[in-house]
């Protein structure tokens, strides 16, 4: 299922090869501090035209600060942000015209209808009259919202509200769409639906997308992922590259005393493991060959052994030394 959907942004990738050298978003050495606490440190990210970049990080990693800088609400102490050739720190209004912002907490007015919300926001971007009416109609149509246009936003489902919010971000045909946790809080069907509309809009507008997320499945759907932890970018690459960097397999051992087991395995098999809760994770080229050796020597201390391909959560764990909090099976969320 997931694999199929990842083919959707292909035309966008073609577009990208047409303009290979020009990143449409260029974030350089960005730092931001709140009083007594630094939120972002020396963050550099560039996104090419037509690319979908996901900034993956747990709550408190600095994602929201980055989002707020990109949406011109915060001014960093150091570094630069260029969107479509515009320095948005110097010329916020020029930047605002080129950027579509999709908030996690929707920017819609719940008391207004879908059509009112869209046309009001059209006014804010300098659209009016027939141009605006046509644009709103087109968006309502392509997002399957035509028969909802006179409904108040407050009575729509979360999925539909998010669709209207996306349409709102696209009204002025931005070069770059910036989204904050776009599918958080949506049920799986609505989430799938949202991604379909996002991909369709990217294709239609040759648009570039930068999104922040703490959800692995959202990150998996991006062309490239940058992992943000404690305000720093620790690694970036395509999801496939990142996972490939961990070698072949992850062997997961459940044990009553994983720390002791880790020590023994390190000593006897020369393999460094990582303890996660009651589990010990071992990265290895060929898990099927490691398991018999583990069973032979350590079977007494092991409760269960499983083998799986590495996912982005393993990349995160490896690069940061701790688990990505706030996922679906939210293990340990607590982190500074």
């Amino acid at each position: 299922m997931k694999k199929q959907r990842r083919h959707v942004p292909q035309p966008a990738s073609k577009h990208r090869t047409a303009v290979p050298d020009r990143p449409v978003v260029n974030i350089t050495n960005l730092s931001y501090s709140y009083p007594g606490q630094s939120a972002l440190t020396d963050v550099s990210i560039s996104v090419s035209t037509g690319e979908r970049l996901g900034v993956l990080g747990p709550n408190g990693s600095g994602k929201s600060t980055l989002f707020r800088i990109l949406s011109t609400l915060l001014l960093p102490s150091e570094g630069g942000v260029e969107i479509d050739g515009i320095d948005i720190l110097q010329s916020p209004d020029e930047g605002r015209r080129r950027t579509g912002i999709v908030f996690q907490s929707s920017g819609l007015d719940p008391k207004l209808t879908v059509a009112e919300n869209l046309s009001f926001h059209g006014h804010f971007y300098g659209l009016s009259g027939v141009t605006l009416a046509n644009r709103v109609h087109h968006l309502l149509q392509s997002f399957g919202l035509l028969e909802r246009k006179d409904h108040r936003v407050e009575i729509l489902s979360g999925g539909l509200q998010r669709r209207v919010e996306l349409a709102r971000g696209l009204l002025h045909k931005p070069a770059v769409l910036v989204l904050d946790e776009p599918s958080t809080g949506l049920d799986p069907a609505a989430r799938l639906d949202f991604w379909q509309f996002l991909s369709q809009s990217m294709k239609e507008g040759g648009m570039t997308v930068l999104l922040t997320t703490h959800l692995l499945d959202e990150a998996e759907r991006c062309d490239r992922v940058a992992i943000l932890d404690r305000g720093r970018i620790v690694v970036s690459g395509t999801p496939a590259e990142l996972k490939a960097s961990l070698g072949g397999d992850i062997v997961v051992i459940t044990a009553s005393d994983p720390h002791r087991l880790a020590k023994r395995i390190r000593r006897e098999l020369l393999i460094d493991g990582t303890v996660v809760d009651r589990e010990l994770h071992l990265e290895t080229k060929d898990g099927a060959r490691l398991i018999p050796r583990l069973v032979k020597t350590f079977s007494a201390s092991m409760e269960a052994v499983t083998i799986r391909k590495p996912g982005l959560q393993d990349v995160f764990l490896r690069k940061t030394g701790h688990q990505l909090g706030g996922t679906e099976n939210d293990g340990e969320g607590g982190r500074g």
Binding site: S71, E94, H121
Partner: protein, 265 residues
């Protein structure tokens, strides 16, 4: 300007869809007026003013201003919620001149406030002796000026607040005392010197005075006690310009990073 008008339209549309808000804004001041007004009706005597003016009549202009104040307060509270999440945040990231955002919001709140005060103003002929169509119209225009100032003040305060709780504190410590010391409840002339001094510096005193003068017309005694109509109007206009200017500066400011060297990660 297009954006500002859209913001005003939004405010009015929203209000039309939550008409229950009107109860809080009009009903409580009217209740105060009836209870306090009737309670003090016979104990009150306007120093230097007409002997036959009842307290209900004296208190009426102040109640009109209280309706405006309550309307401005309620709308300003919504700014806090709107700013941290939702509609207003989307407005802030749009390429709109910041002055249009301030004016759109302030004019929107003003429109609602005078609409509600206007409803209570319709009762004036029953309360104020000698009220004419002309005096009601003039009163209405004065109330617009009062509403502009209070909306701008509400906006400025709300913009700097993170929580609605903070706004309630300011409301109790600043906005309600401003009204108590505006001449709405008691005249300057009969007050202790320090209260009178505070009242003379209170912009809302000029709002209540102008409303009183517009409503009563020229009544001997009242006219000498209150600042002249021209002075009151000038103060109201200057106050509005000052607060709107401050608000525009406040909105323009993007939250800057603090000094990173002082920060610990």
């Amino acid at each position: 300007m297009n954006a500002a008008l859209t913001l005003v339209r939004r405010e009015v549309l929203r209000f039309g869809r939550q008409r229950s808000r009107m109860i809080g804004v009009i009903a409580s001041p009217v209740l105060f007026w009836i209870v306090i007004g009737s309670g003090l009706n016979n104990s009150f005597q306007y120093p230097g003013g007409p002997q036959d003016m009842s307290y209900l009549e004296y208190f009426y202009p102040g109640t009109l201003v209280l309706v405006v104040l309550f309307a401005a307060i309620f709308s300003s509270i919504s700014i806090i919620e709107d700013r941290n999440q939702g509609f207003l945040q989307a407005v802030l990231v749009a390429p709109i001149p910041r002055v249009s955002i301030v004016l759109g919001k302030v004019l929107g709140i003003t429109a609602l406030a005078v609409l509600q005060a206007g409803i209570f103003l319709l009762a004036a002929p029953l309360i104020v002796s000698g009220a004419t169509a002309g005096s009601l119209l003039l009163t209405f225009l004065v109330l617009i000026l009062v509403a502009l100032g209070l909306s701008a003040l509400g906006f400025l305060i709300a913009w700097s607040m993170d929580s609605t709780q903070g706004f309630h504190a300011i409301m109790n410590l600043l906005l309600v005392p401003m009204w108590l010391l505006s001449g709405a409840l008691f005249p300057v002339s009969g007050s202790a010197p320090w209260v009178a001094a505070v009242m003379n510096w209170n912009p809302l005193m000029y709002g209540v005075s102008a409303t009183r003068k517009a409503l009563y017309g020229v009544i001997p005694g009242v006219s000498t006690e209150l600042p002249s109509f021209g002075t009151s109007i000038s103060v109201l206009v200057l106050f509005w310009i000052l607060v709107v200017t401050l608000a525009v500066f406040r909105v323009q400011k993007r939250q800057r990073s603090s000094n990173p060297r002082k920060a610990v990660s």
